[in-house]
């Protein structure tokens, strides 16, 4: 279909300050304009009672292929993203082998193109084999299409390597994504260190481990002029560090995983390994700080934190099960229920953090409905209720803790590059 008309939706596009009911015309894969007169052959989508938003963008998703296909494949992961309203995702390099070569980047991009679900942008390794010792060939990775560098979910432990990574990446104007964590303090940790971990007798992951690393990262970014993105911060101290760094003019952005906004460490009282995630679910005081940081713009991006893990790996003792939660398909509903409905963020602010800001972070011409832009659109019904059923999830993994739970807010349709894909 050459033309697509999305009628009667509440069009929200923070990139151009737009929030009104309008008809959106899509032509030849691009946004043609609003409320245009249309004649002739045209596919029509009725978006009454729905929000029409630029497609959501998650800058750091684990797709696991190659090597960990029992958890997820590029095809299933991108299908899950699509069903969750995402039209572009950044793919983290923690596959096996990790994405540290041109061939690795090309593999992901080809697989993603073949899956025809969403746009996939590759986040290449900072270090060769993600070992944290020597820089990966960043220039070659960029040439092959990588848009950022990261060893996440593993932190960049070696401070000298991080410094060189900041300096070297400046040549390509690409950001370094670090998951801030001092490994000596988190080693063996299972959950947030606090009252709950004390009662449960589980090894803790102290907030200070994240804050020390974030502080180091920020100082180095400041000293080198490098661009830093802190992946999924989770503590009061980290929010405050980013807030102050931004005030000083440090080139930093930060994301928060949706799980860290809606759950606390109390969830682990049932010893359910679904709630074992990294960064760990924190106590409610940290959650309050994250919400405040999200509201005042300190935190730029709401990420799914999607980290699929095969059920047989999760069915282990809590301290032996891997970290990770399956969230791509639930993120938007959780944002609606926990942030928009209680009045913490309005829809334009939520969409800025789910689409416009992540697009800027990845340096991609997305996250907008401006005429002429690629037609990547999510159509969201904020009133629709649905119940999570693991067998209906597109993701390959069952590590979704919300199975059987009724959620409010559903993705009705998704348009990618002008094509109705969902």
């Amino acid at each position: 279909m050459e033309r697509l008309l999305i009628q009667n939706g509440r069009v929200i596009d923070p990139s151009q300050g737009l929030d009104r009911v309008a008809d959106v015309l899509v032509e030849k894969g691009k946004i043609a304009g609003f409320d245009l007169k249309v004649s002739g052959d045209c596919q029509i989508i009725d978006a009454s009672d729905c929000i029409v938003s630029p497609g959501l963008i998650d800058p750091h998703v684990e797709l696991r292929e190659p090597g960990c296909e029992e958890d997820e494949t590029i095809e299933t992961g991108t299908a899950a993203a699509l069903a969750g309203g995402f039209t572009s995702i950044g793919c983290l390099p923690n596959s096996e082998p990790p994405i540290d070569t041109q061939a690795g980047v090309e593999f992901v991009r080809q697989k993603a193109a073949r899956a025809r679900n969403v746009n996939v942008y590759v986040v290449g390794c900072v270090s060769k084999n993600r070992e944290g010792k020597e820089l990966a060939e960043m220039g070659s990775l960029v040439e092959a299409g990588a848009v950022a560098f990261s060893d996440a979910p593993r932190p960049i432990h070696n401070t000298d390597l991080l410094r060189r990574a900041f300096e070297y990446s400046l040549m390509f104007k690409r950001p370094i994504f670090d998951r801030p964590e001092v490994l000596e303090l988190t080693h063996g940790g299972v959950m947030h260190e606090g009252r709950t971990s004390l009662v449960l007798g589980l090894p803790g992951i102290p907030a200070a481990a994240e804050e020390l690393a974030a502080s180091r990262d920020l100082r180095l970014a400041e000293a080198t002029g490098g661009r830093l993105h802190l992946v999924n911060i989770s503590t009061t101290g980290a929010v405050e560090l980013v807030r102050r760094a931004k005030a000083r003019g440090v080139k930093v952005t930060a994301s928060v995983g949706i799980a860290n906004l809606v759950f606390t460490d109390e969830r682990l009282r049932t010893f359910d390994s679904h709630y074992k995630v990294n960064p760990p679910l924190r106590s409610s005081d940290h959650v309050e700080s994250l919400l405040a940081g999200l509201a005042d713009g300190t935190i730029d991006v709401i990420a799914s934190g999607h980290a699929p893990r095969a059920v047989e790996k999760k069915m282990r003792e809590l301290d032996q099960a891997p970290f990770g939660m399956n969230l791509l398909e639930m993120t938007l509903a959780l944002v609606n229920m926990h942030l928009v409905v209680p009045g913490l963020l309005d829809w334009p602010a939520a969409i800025a953090r789910l689409s416009c800001n992540p697009a800027r972070l990845l340096g991609i011409p997305k996250g907008t409905l401006r005429p002429g832009a690629d037609a990547d659109i999510a159509i969201i019904n904020p009133q629709a209720r649905w119940t999570v059923a693991s067998r209906q999830l597109k993701s390959k993994s069952d590590n979704a803790p919300l199975c059987g739970v009724e959620l409010l807010g559903r993705v009705e349709h998704v348009v990618v590059g002008g094509v109705l894909r969902f």
Partner: protein, 319 residues
């Protein structure tokens, strides 16, 4: 059921649980119900010596994923005293080494029609996870650093035997609180029954956060010693510590070992307890361990009574 067993009567109606997973979730009446039942078993079996076949025809399995000698033996003997059949399952001799998950292992054993699984595991929460996946009763015999409910109960039973009530007593748990499941079970049980609980040890092993649960936190044994009615000297869990939390065993003993000099400054009727196995010379000197205030061996005998009570109570549900 023979006459002696029939005379013992039915299980108390107050008890409704099919599992014993922790003491944190038990109410004071439930705790007293187990303790009273244990005392009755102890009396009816002539101090845990003779048999009382109230579990004839039932089967219990000791599923120990972690080494244990006394707890395993105690559970086995308790089951046999009650006339149950009991089988042993050791992780080293199992298919765990072949990669089977612990849930599958437990389901296999349950499929052989076991009435109660007594489980010990290095990972906290393992008994809780199993209780959600199995139909048979699950008894926690120690899950990592989380809880060891029958140990907590036998400690409390021993104090009750000597002091009648827990109300108003000051009980200090001394040593490696961080890695101790015994400490956690004691804390919940003792608090619920009205005792004042102090946790005392090196600051690296005693979190200040315990204060938010109404527990007194102390670093100096000498300071708290004159106030204590009971000292429970926990073993230093060298095997659970990833990094050494204190400079040397010598320094630990200097600060926390219960010895003759400290005994002289304690209340004359103080009770000295230790969950065992004890490191003689580390947390307790031999003269104190074998001295007149030591009730360490009473604890072991009461362990049998408590485990008889627990096995009977949880397997009597739903009949």
């Amino acid at each position: 059921m023979n006459a002696v067993a029939a005379d013992f009567g039915p299980a108390p109606s107050l008890w409704k649980r099919r599992h014993l997973l922790d003491l944190e979730s038990l109410s004071a009446p439930e705790l007293l119900c187990v303790l009273d039942t244990a005392a009755r078993f102890k009396q009816a079996t002539n101090g845990c010596r003779s048999k009382l076949p109230v579990l004839t025809g039932k089967t219990t399995c000791n599923l120990f994923f972690e080494n244990s000698t006394r707890t395993r033996t105690s559970f086995s003997l308790a089951a046999r005293r009650l006339g149950a059949d009991t089988v042993e399952f050791a992780a080293s001799s199992s298919s765990l080494s072949k990669g089977e998950t612990f849930i599958d292992t437990a389901k296999n054993i349950q499929a052989m029609n076991v009435d109660a699984l007594v489980i010990r595991h290095v990972s906290p929460g393992t008994p809780h996870i199993l209780s959600n996946n199995l139909q048979c009763s699950v008894i926690n015999a120690g899950d990592g650093a989380h809880e060891h409910p029958t140990q907590g109960l036998l400690d409390i039973m021993t104090i009750r035997e000597h002091r009648g009530s827990l109300e108003g007593l000051t009980v200090a748990l001394v040593g490696d609180i961080a890695h101790s499941r015994t400490a956690r079970s004691n804390i919940w049980g003792l608090k619920r029954l009205g005792a004042h609980v102090i946790v005392c040890g090196p600051a690296t092993l005693v979190s200040r956060a315990w204060e938010s649960f109404g527990v007194e936190v102390a670093y100096s044994l000498d300071e708290i010693l004159p106030r204590c009615d009971v000292l429970n000297l926990l073993r230093v869990q060298f095997e659970r510590q990833t990094t050494r939390p204190f400079p040397s065993v010598r320094e630990y003993a200097l600060l926390y070992a219960m010895n003759r000099e400290r005994m002289a400054r304690a209340k004359p009727n103080i009770l000295i307890m230790a969950p065992g196995p004890i490191n003689r010379g580390v947390e307790i000197t031999p003269d104190v361990a074998d001295g007149p205030q030591s009730v360490i061996l009473d604890q072991v005998t009461n362990g049998l009574a408590v485990r008889m009570a627990v096995l009977w109570l949880v397997t009597s549900q739903g009949e």
